[in-house]
Amino acid sequence: ASRVMVASRNYADFANEATFEIKKCDLHRLEEGPSTTVVMTREEGLHYYKTMQTIRRMELKADQLYKQKIIRGFCHLYDGQEACCVGLEAAIKPTDHVITAYRAHGFTYARGVPTREILAELTGRKGGCVKGKGGSMHMYTKNFYGGNGIVGAQVPLGAGIALACKYFDKNEVCLTLYGDGAANQGQIFETYNMAALWKLPCVFICENNRYGMGTSVERAAASTDYYKRGDFIPGLRVRTDTAFFCGGMGNTFLFKGPILMELQTYRYHGHSMSDPGISYRTREEIQEVRSKSDPITLLKDRMVNNNLASIEELKEIDVAVRKEIEEAAQFATTDPEPPLEELGNHIYFNEPPFEVRGPNQWIRYKSVC
């Protein structure tokens, strides 16, 4: 995308909103898709920009900390895919529900967990959002059910959450996310069947980043039209290099029963921190996506070109974000590890204290909660 130089402006000079044309969605069993004309306000745009930039910098900081061996185990980074979680969060309410797989840091932030608590969870400290008990793949907050390590297992869970939404009659939905790799899991098709049979308010979302670990979609799926794989479930395919589709999302949730949305996106990092990500794809491909379809760059250009913000203003946001992430990292590297007693806690919920066996019969922990 080309960059446009604009002269410095006062805030009073900015437009309040702008109208954008977005690519039409591919539809499956749907008469009409979301509108191709979307309106975004300056406020919305700034919010999306800040949120995506925060996630981007947070993930890059995690990369750094992992290479310094301060983060250990699995670490699946979301940089490149920010528009998905930001756009989805914008389309739902805090009272709606979200569940995803292990590439979950972006959603964890979007659902309201502060960056310091995410990074501290990655570094395994007591200030982590789940006290260091979960790590990268198991972060939770209100109406956000993780963070799930077993590929595809989160999909039936999401439909179950949707069942509860319907049961309680509260007009809430559950966004149930999975990747292109998980899309071939049998339990997902079992879930499609039950969600459709029982008309569960479940929005199935396939984040198609073209690779399931090191296996490209063409090598894994007989049909790569993931939005059609729900068969009897209506589906749509969205290109998410922009966060704009969220404007049209409101319409899709009026359906009674499940719907399937495929988001075409890309991850810059390999599958996880132990994967350089270049043995199964070319550096050129990564570079091309970065230069032509980066969601943050595209949003910045669109905002500047449509007089919704200035480059300086966005740069100020960048500076503020960097500062926030530095402070969060500082916290994540200095906060103490959880006390040893934590080992025995939270095995059960709402249980009187009991003894927990350690590595031998003489080592015992007390489960206090």
């Binding site: 008990k133 869970l157 069942l163 509860a164 079992e190 039950m194 095995i347 919920f349």
Partner: protein
């Protein structure tokens, strides 16, 4: 099939309020009462609604509570188990029926990785108040794929509670306790026990009767040897005890009731008294419930009170064959228990 416990029960003159209630009816009562008590409780599984339950445990419940509370699922164990677990995470209290626990293997990832571990991984922020129930272990003539006992596998995992009722009182009280528990509970029933009547006191028939999870029950007091068992073999132990009593051997029979957390203190207290231990279970010997009991007895104070090594009576270490003569010799029989007792007492 022989009726474990039935003979002993029938000899009593019922006291006031005492009735003969089958395990099936006891379970049905428990479900009915808990569905009525808490509107978040619901039942799902194959054939639980319009068929009245594959084994008629949920008879009449769909008629009474309707589609919202009693849900027939397609044959999709992994899917519907995950759905049940997700519903529990979001505040409902599902009872997820497996037609038999053999089919739970299809869904075992959801039971362990989604249900059992989530409270821990989330540092207590997400509870999973779910009950997984269904018939477990050997039946009669259903062959290898339908006869496995899962007590050891589920009992292995922290985060789960695992209960194994024998009598109607156990069945009703434990099911109610399990449904009211805020944690994932695996309830291992036994198909051959469903039709067996047991005495139930008036108290046991009341709507608030619960059997605490994690506490064993001494079904018979004794002084010479401790027999520890769970589920149907408890009945066999009582039969063996009756026969041995005629020879002057008094067995103490402990009904574990709960596999995890196991009430090892009850076993220890008994071993301190009797100095001899025989464990009896329907599952395979290797890595089984009996193996765990023996290991724990060795680790605790009761070891010094043993006058002989502890002995295990288990299912035979083979996949279950079909032919009756073969099957009969693959499950622990009364004669096997008596033999083990005499061996350990050296008589």
């Amino acid at each position: 099939p022989r009726r474990a416990g039935g003979r002993a029960a029938a000899l009593h003159c019922p006291a006031a309020g005492v009735s003969q209630v089958t395990v099936r009816d006891a379970l049905n009562q428990a479900l009915d009462e808990e569905l009525e008590r808490d509107e978040r409780v619901f039942l799902l599984g194959e054939e639980v609604a319009q068929y009245d339950g594959a084994y008629k445990i949920s008879r009449g419940l769909w008629k009474k509570y309707g589609d919202k509370r009693v849900i027939d699922t397609p044959i999709s164990e992994m899917g519907f188990t995950g759905i049940a677990v997700g519903a529990a995470m979001a505040g409902l209290r599902p009872v997820c029926e497996f037609m038999t626990f053999n089919f739970s293997m299809q869904a075992i990832d959801q039971v362990i990785n989604s249900a059992a571990k989530t409270c821990y991984m989330s540092a207590g922020s997400i509870a999973v108040p779910i009950v997984f129930r269904g018939p477990n272990g050997a039946s009669a003539g259903v062959a290898a794929q339908h006869s496995q006992c899962f007590a050891a596998w589920y009992g292995h995992c922290p985060g789960l509670k695992v209960v194994s009722p024998w009598s109607s009182e156990d069945a009703k009280g434990l099911l109610k306790a399990s449904i009211r528990d805020d944690n994932p509970v695996v309830m291992l029933e036994n198909e051959l026990l469903y039709g067996v009547p047991f005495e139930m006191s008036e108290q046991a028939q009341s709507k608030d009767f619960v059997v605490p999870i994690g506490k064993a029950k001494i079904e018979r007091q004794g002084t010479h040897v401790t027999l520890v068992s769970h589920s149907r073999p408890v009945g066999h132990c009582l039969e063996a005890a009756a026969i041995l009593a005629k020879e002057g051997v008094e067995c103490e029979v402990i009904n574990l009731r709960t596999i995890r957390p196991m009430d090892i203190e009850a076993v220890e207290a008994s071993v301190v008294k009797t100095n001899h231990l025989v464990t009896v279970e329907g599952g395979w010997p290797q890595f089984g419930v009996g193996a765990e009991i023996c290991a724990r007895i060795m680790e605790g104070s009761a070891f010094n009170y043993l006058d002989a090594p502890a002995v295990r009576v288990t299912g035979a270490d083979v996949p279950m064959p079909y032919a009756k003569i073969l099957e009969d010799n693959c499950i622990p029989q009364v004669k096997d228990i008596i033999f083990a007792v005499k061996k350990t007492l050296n008589i």
